[in-house]
């Protein structure tokens, strides 16, 4: 931690000793996702002790299969939260997209890809409408999307009509979520390792290219060992996921979609002008406006992207559950989506966070519900535990924000 002013008091006033070091570590250092990862390890340990099958390849593959749709919707929630807005319609939009998909595919016999495409376009149209409404009439987004949540739930019931549940049979649609790399794809294991190797090498290449460019431009650059450590960590995660899933049915396609979406949106948010503008609008919309950024455009596009992701997440969920029904996208889904984003480290107050928090948060949330299902806890207990965990997660976020602000970050 470098001091900002040449003030001897800043150094002299610092208490020494282990406890002070610990306090500084938690208040002054930006720990990023580390507290959440520690929380995840604790959750996993508890469930593993309670039921030794929790960390088995079978259950971990199930976990990835179950969390992918939540994660996809949560990526959209992260984008909206980065703007400093909130989207309460994400659950209802995911349900409506699933309903539209099911009606098109089963009742109207549309080909699978067409049904999927229309479902996603319904999401885009909803995002455009809600984004326009929010920006044009300057209504807080939580009101507009709360109205949306009710309206789109109504629309879902309308398109389903008298049919309560529509079972999906289309191979393409069902295969979207439930194609397992080892079980269902020829040479799936080999392809998995090849793609994994390409990802790690691509990451290594981009990190070293960046280092070389910074070095030749005379800027500060990271040491080779830091980069190697980062690359090794990624390689360990990638091979760990492949080894575990390949010990069962292989990586589910739903998870592959989630990873692809994360990589795409990481690039968009971190490396493009548009992504920079999302952060700018979330940090200080007035400053962004004065810097001639088209704030309305940024907001509307993010609303469209978020609703498209919600729609696609709903489609993945329907493909996984092999059905769309009147309760698609309802219940605690919305809260789980927003909690995923926040647990992963995205601020509720705009401008801070990353799309990867959707992955980490969804992993935490789904671990809890998966573990409770495994223990066959009764429904009332599950609701109460889920509620307590969500409240705790948001509280931790609020406390860390206060400390961050106190430390001037």
């Amino acid at each position: 931690m470098s001091t900002l002013v040449d003030d001897p008091r800043l150094e002299a006033g610092k208490p020494s000793g282990f406890r002070a070091w610990l306090r500084r570590l938690f208040t002054e250092t930006d720990l990023g996702p580390i507290p959440t990862i520690i929380g995840l390890i604790i959750i996993w340990t508890i469930f593993q002790i309670a039921n030794h099958r929790f960390l088995s390849p079978l259950n971990l593959t199930n976990l990835m299969y179950q969390m992918a749709d939540l994660g996809v919707i949560a990526v959209g929630a992260v984008l909206i939260l980065l703007l400093g807005e909130v989207d309460l319609s994400a659950g209802a939009v995911s349900g409506l997209a699933a309903g539209v998909l099911a009606v098109l595919s089963v009742k109207l016999h549309a080909p699978g890809p067409v049904a999927v495409l229309v479902g996603i376009l319904v999401g885009a149209a909803i995002g455009l409408l809600q984004g326009f409404w929010t920006t044009r009439f300057k209504i807080p987004s939580f009101i507009v999307t709360l109205a949306g949540q009710i309206g789109w739930t109504g629309a879902l019931l309308y398109v389903l009509g008298t049919t309560g549940t529509i079972n999906l049979r289309d191979k393409f649609i069902v295969g979207l979520a439930g194609t397992f790399l080892k079980r269902d794809v020829p040479h799936g294991v080999l392809i998995g390792w090849l793609v994994g190797a390409i990802l790690v090498l691509g990451y290594a290449f981009s990190r070293f290219t960046e280092r070389r460019r910074r070095r030749s431009a005379g800027l500060t650059y990271r040491s080779v060992w830091t980069l190697i450590l980062q690359i090794v960590v990624l390689a360990v995660i990638v091979s760990g996921v492949l080894l575990i899933t390949n010990a069962d049915r292989g990586l589910p396609s739903a998870m592959i979609f989630l990873i692809a979406i994360l990589i795409l949106f990481d690039f968009i948010t971190q490396r493009t002008t548009f992504g920079r503008h999302i952060y700018a609008v979330g940090g200080n919309a007035e400053a962004a406006r004065r810097a001639s950024i088209n704030v309305t455009f940024v907001r509307i596009v993010v609303f469209i992207l978020a609703s498209m992701l919600a729609a696609f997440g709903g489609i993945l969920a329907a493909a996984r559950l092999l059905a769309a029904n009147q309760s698609s996208g309802s219940g605690d889904l919305l809260l789980r989506v927003i909690a995923s984003a926040v647990i992963g480290g995205t601020s509720l107050f705009g401008g801070r966070g990353s799309v990867w928090s959707a992955l980490l948060g969804a992993l935490v949330i789904q671990s809890i519900s998966n573990g409770m299902d495994l223990l066959a806890l009764p429904s009332p207990i599950k609701f109460m535990i889920t509620g307590a965990v969500l409240a705790a997660a948001v509280t931790i976020e609020a406390i860390s924000r206060q400390r961050r602000e106190a430390a001037g970050r």
Binding site: A280, G283, A291, I293
Partner: protein, 266 residues
């Protein structure tokens, strides 16, 4: 540093007026600022300082009067017109994004990209060059604005204003929220802007600060010129008198009248 009569002013206002409903915020205000000159704009609350800079920066276009920029008449209808001319304004709220780092803020709305990804390397290099040329000291250009001190934030905001081939920089109360040391840093920065040949307008209530950096002081009172003073021949009490209306500055009203001759409603 005194402007000579033969030199063309960077910015010249001739009889600028602005009315908001029943309130005549500015009436027939005239003054000019040359490159390599710092001019102080002072006046009591409601004297029209803010309205005047808003006319120049395009937020509230003037009702009547002429604005001349580098020897030709210009019409500033919106902030973009002002920016295109090379007029940058640093408002009191600084308009920085706390959650972005210094580079992100300096390049806000002007990001450089290589085909698609942001060109962070050249943005960072040019940011460092700019800050170095202005002797602005900051722990790292990758520091988020939230962790900078008030003076450093002000310096970043000013650096951003001069980064883009600006010719005239308007600073609204640059030292209002700062402590003594930080004010000093910002005043030094303003002096460097003058050395680099920019025209600078500083609005301030702090006459001590004004006297430290400016070459001339333009006093506004109740929306009118109330004297333009050369810093070397004026005492602080004279300025206070002009601001409060206890005494009328002679040379100021004379300049105001001469400028009014050419003024036509556009």
């Amino acid at each position: 540093m005194n402007p000579s009569a033969s030199k063309i002013p960077t910015l010249e206002l001739r009889g600028v007026s602005k009315r908001f409903g029943a309130v005549q915020a500015l009436s027939e205000v005239s003054f000019e600022v040359f490159s390599g000159e710092v001019i102080g704009l002072v006046g009591d609350n409601g004297a029209g300082k803010s309205t005047l800079i808003k006319c120049v920066s395009g937020i509230h276009p003037a009702d009547s009067g002429e604005i001349w920029f580098e020897g030709r008449q210009v019409f500033i209808h919106n902030p973009k017109d002002a920016a295109d001319l090379g007029i940058q304004t640093v408002y009191q709220d600084l308009a920085l994004c706390d959650n972005l780092d210094v580079v992100g803020n300096l390049y806000l709305g002007r990001e450089t990209t290589t085909l698609l990804p942001l060109d962070e390397v050249s943005m960072e290099r040019l940011s460092l060059e700019t800050l170095r040329s202005l002797s602005v000291s900051i722990p790292s250009v990758r520091t988020r604005i939230a962790s900078l001190s008030g003076g450093q934030r002000q310096s970043v905001a000013i650096s951003r204003a001069v980064m883009w081939n600006s010719k005239l920089v308007i600073l609204d109360e640059p030292t209002a929220a700062l402590g003594v040391v930080q004010s000093k840093q910002v005043l030094e920065l303003i002096k460097r802007l003058r050395q680099q040949g920019l025209a600078v307008i500083v609005i301030s209530h702090n006459l001590a600060d004004i006297f430290e950096v400016v070459d001339r002081i333009c006093v506004l009172r109740l929306g009118r010129n109330n004297g333009i003073f050369d810093i070397h021949t004026t005492k602080q009490e004279d300025i206070v008198a002009a601001i409060t209306g206890a005494e009328f500055g002679l040379n100021g009203s004379a300049e105001g009248r001469s400028a009014q001759k050419g003024a036509k409603t556009s």
